[in-house]
């Protein structure tokens, strides 16, 4: 700092303050490209997503159809073998990936939107807003979610993946709201939030532009956990016969494998692909999250 001596130099050529947003974006990209965690994590997630999206177009039979010989280990024709009924496990896996992603995105998405909105408002506004929202959150939190889901889903005639996702979302947001609220509470007392108010910013802009970016990796993590949670709840519903009619999901595959004693019969190709699928999705999302943290947090970049 040569600040005092530098005062006369104030009018000399200094780098012009260019539009801040643009500069920041290119910089984030610069670090994102060089972060192996981010690249590996997103690579795996995208690959699985692509398999789920495109895969089904290359399979000409229904995943639940009895197409081949029974209990075949993986071979050239049936890449992941067949079930004890002769269903093609690869076809089930590909379709299952698709609906698992769907349920994760919808269930997790709905829960995330409600949870963060409630959490941000309660944490930032405080006072009676906080008290009311907190009460609602606690009420939903103590509801036995699975029972509500069973009752609600059982009343619906046509059960699709989307409806299931929305219902899961509506019951699983409270812990996210509480987590976001506590983070917001501590961030809202920081001086830069006061400074943003003094700069004439509206509440929603302070929340989205000051508070939220500081917990971006936390928010991503929340979404990832909600995503994974939705997949598991969906699997539970599938198991008791309240899943999408005629649907396939990784959870349903796992439960079927267990129900038909794949473990005891040594049909590892039946339960490992769906189990591994769920684990790899959630695991690589986690690695991606750590990578994102390093990219967004300028202090971590320099380490």
């Amino acid at each position: 700092m040569t600040d005092v001596a530098g005062a006369p130099g104030a009018d000399s050529a200094a780098p012009a303050p260019e539009p801040a947003a643009e500069r920041r974006r290119s910089e984030t990209l610069h670090f994102a490209r060089r972060n192996p965690k981010l690249l590996i994590g997103s690579g795996i997630v995208l690959t699985l997503l692509l398999i789920g999206l495109i895969g089904p177009f290359f399979i000409d039979h229904d995943p639940n159809e009895y197409v081949g010989p029974q209990s075949q280990p993986p071979n050239g024709e049936y890449w992941l073998g067949t079930t004890s009924f002769g269903q093609d496990i690869w076809a089930q896996f590909v379709h299952g990936l698709r609906s698992t992603f769907l349920i994760g995105v919808f269930g997790g998405g709905v829960a995330f939107v409600i949870g963060t909105a409630v959490g941000f408002l309660a944490g930032y506004k405080g006072g009676w807003v906080d008290e009311v929202l907190n009460m609602i959150t606690n009420v939903v939190l103590v509801l036995p979610a699975l029972v509500v889901l069973i009752v609600a889903v059982a009343y619906l005639d046509a059960r699709g993946v989307l409806v299931q996702g929305v219902f899961i979302g509506l019951t699983s947001w409270p812990w996210a709201a509480r987590a976001v609220r506590s983070q917001t509470l501590s961030l809202a007392t920081r001086d830069f939030v006061d400074l943003a108010r003094l700069s004439g910013r509206r509440t929603w802009r302070i929340i989205t532009a000051e508070v939220a970016p500081n917990m971006s990796s936390y928010l991503v993590m929340t979404f990832i956990l909600l995503f994974g949670g939705s997949i598991l709840i969906a699997a539970g519903l599938d198991f008791i016969g309240l899943g999408p009619t005629n649907g396939v999901s990784l959870g349903l595959m796992l439960e079927n494998a267990v129900a038909w004693s794949a473990l005891q019969l040594g049909l590892w190709w039946w339960f490992i692909p769906p189990g591994l699928g769920i684990t790899v999705i959630v695991g690589s999302l986690y690695i991606l999250n750590v990578g994102l943290d390093e990219v967004f947090n300028p202090k971590l970049r320099e380490l």
Partner: protein, 317 residues
């Protein structure tokens, strides 16, 4: 001579290289001496006080020696330091208030601490009560939880605990920074009283507040960018500083009674050099109005008058 530090070098390891936090620090601390260690943030004063008791995992002892009562202090050897800590060298940390476990009553916590250091609590119980009274605390505080005490009370409790075994050397690291003025004075005066009663033989009092050390210290050592700039009796540092940095620093302090209209004080332009790759020669050179060619060479710390040490080429003239 209680403490003798010679050419001590302690570096912080970071991924970008070594930060030369202490780069050749030498000084002596006499029996019964309270030395104020002053300087701006990042000058190495906290590193020095930590080095004397425990190196954390990122700190590396690069060179130099520390002697206490004529015996070598193995600062780089964590194991060998264990018998010395608390018994011979004790520390009052900067955030003493948060050092107290909130779920334990204070008395119980002290007993646990004593046992872990191989002392029977019963042997020192009377002394503990006496000293609590001395710093103006009711011995009843032993039955209270830390949360029930004010900041100044907690600070005094920690002071009593740290000096209970009559250590040779007490390091007080910014112990009064978080306190109010009136509490600050009484804590500072208690520390001097502890020295007068020989509960501690000598003391290093680390602070950024020069006017506070002037009140209580016998000598003041001013550090700058990992090195000693000047060490002298407290009065000499304030009234007749010899190092240009000390001079500018002292003249930048507003006092009760000084006002803008009564004469504007000036700060020191510039900032201290980074210690990742510290510059050669005198580290104050870039901010020093008196700098000349010779400053490219590192000035040695020399005794210009009995007890008055300074590291500047110009002080000899």
């Amino acid at each position: 001579m209680t403490l003798r530090v010679k050419d001590l070098k302690v570096y912080y390891q970071t991924l970008r290289g070594d930060v030369h936090a202490l780069d050749g620090v030498s000084f002596d601390l006499a029996d019964g001496e309270i030395m104020g260690l002053a300087g701006e943030s990042g000058c190495g004063k906290s590193t020095l006080s930590k080095s004397l008791i425990r190196l954390d995992s990122r700190m590396r002892h690069v060179g130099g020696t520390v002697e206490l009562d004529g015996e070598n202090v193995p600062i780089a050897d964590d194991e060998a330091m264990v018998p010395l800590r608390y018994h011979e060298i004790s520390l009052i940390p900067q955030y003493a208030m948060s050092a107290l476990n909130p779920t334990r009553k204070i008395g119980r916590m002290i007993n646990e601490l004593l046992r872990s250091r191989g002392v029977r609590p019963g042997d020192v119980a009377d002394e503990l009560r006496r000293r609590l009274e001395l710093v103006g605390l009711d011995p009843e505080v032993l039955d209270r939880f830390p949360i029930e005490l004010s900041g100044g009370m907690k600070q005094r409790v920690v002071m009593v605990i740290s000096t209970l075994l009559n250590p040779s050397l007490l390091i007080a690291d910014e112990v009064t920074s978080a306190l109010d003025v009136s509490t600050q004075r009484s804590v500072a005066e208690s520390l001097v009283e502890f020295r007068d009663r020989e509960y501690v033989r000598s003391m290093v009092f680390v602070t950024h507040d020069i006017s506070l050390v002037y009140q209580m210290a016998d000598t003041i050592m001013v550090m700058y960018a990992g090195r000693v700039a000047e060490k002298a009796p407290a009065r000499a540092v304030i009234e007749d500083p010899r190092h240009p940095y000390t001079r500018m620093l002292v003249s930048a302090l507003p006092e009760v009674g000084s006002t803008v209209s009564g004469g504007r004080l000036e700060g020191i332009p510039g900032t201290p050099p980074g210690l990742l790759n510290p510059p050669q020669g005198c580290r104050f050179r870039d901010r020093c109005p008196m700098a000349f060619d010779r400053c490219a060479e590192q000035p040695p710390l020399v005794e210009i008058e009995p007890g008055h040490w300074a590291a500047c080429w110009k002080t000899g003239e």
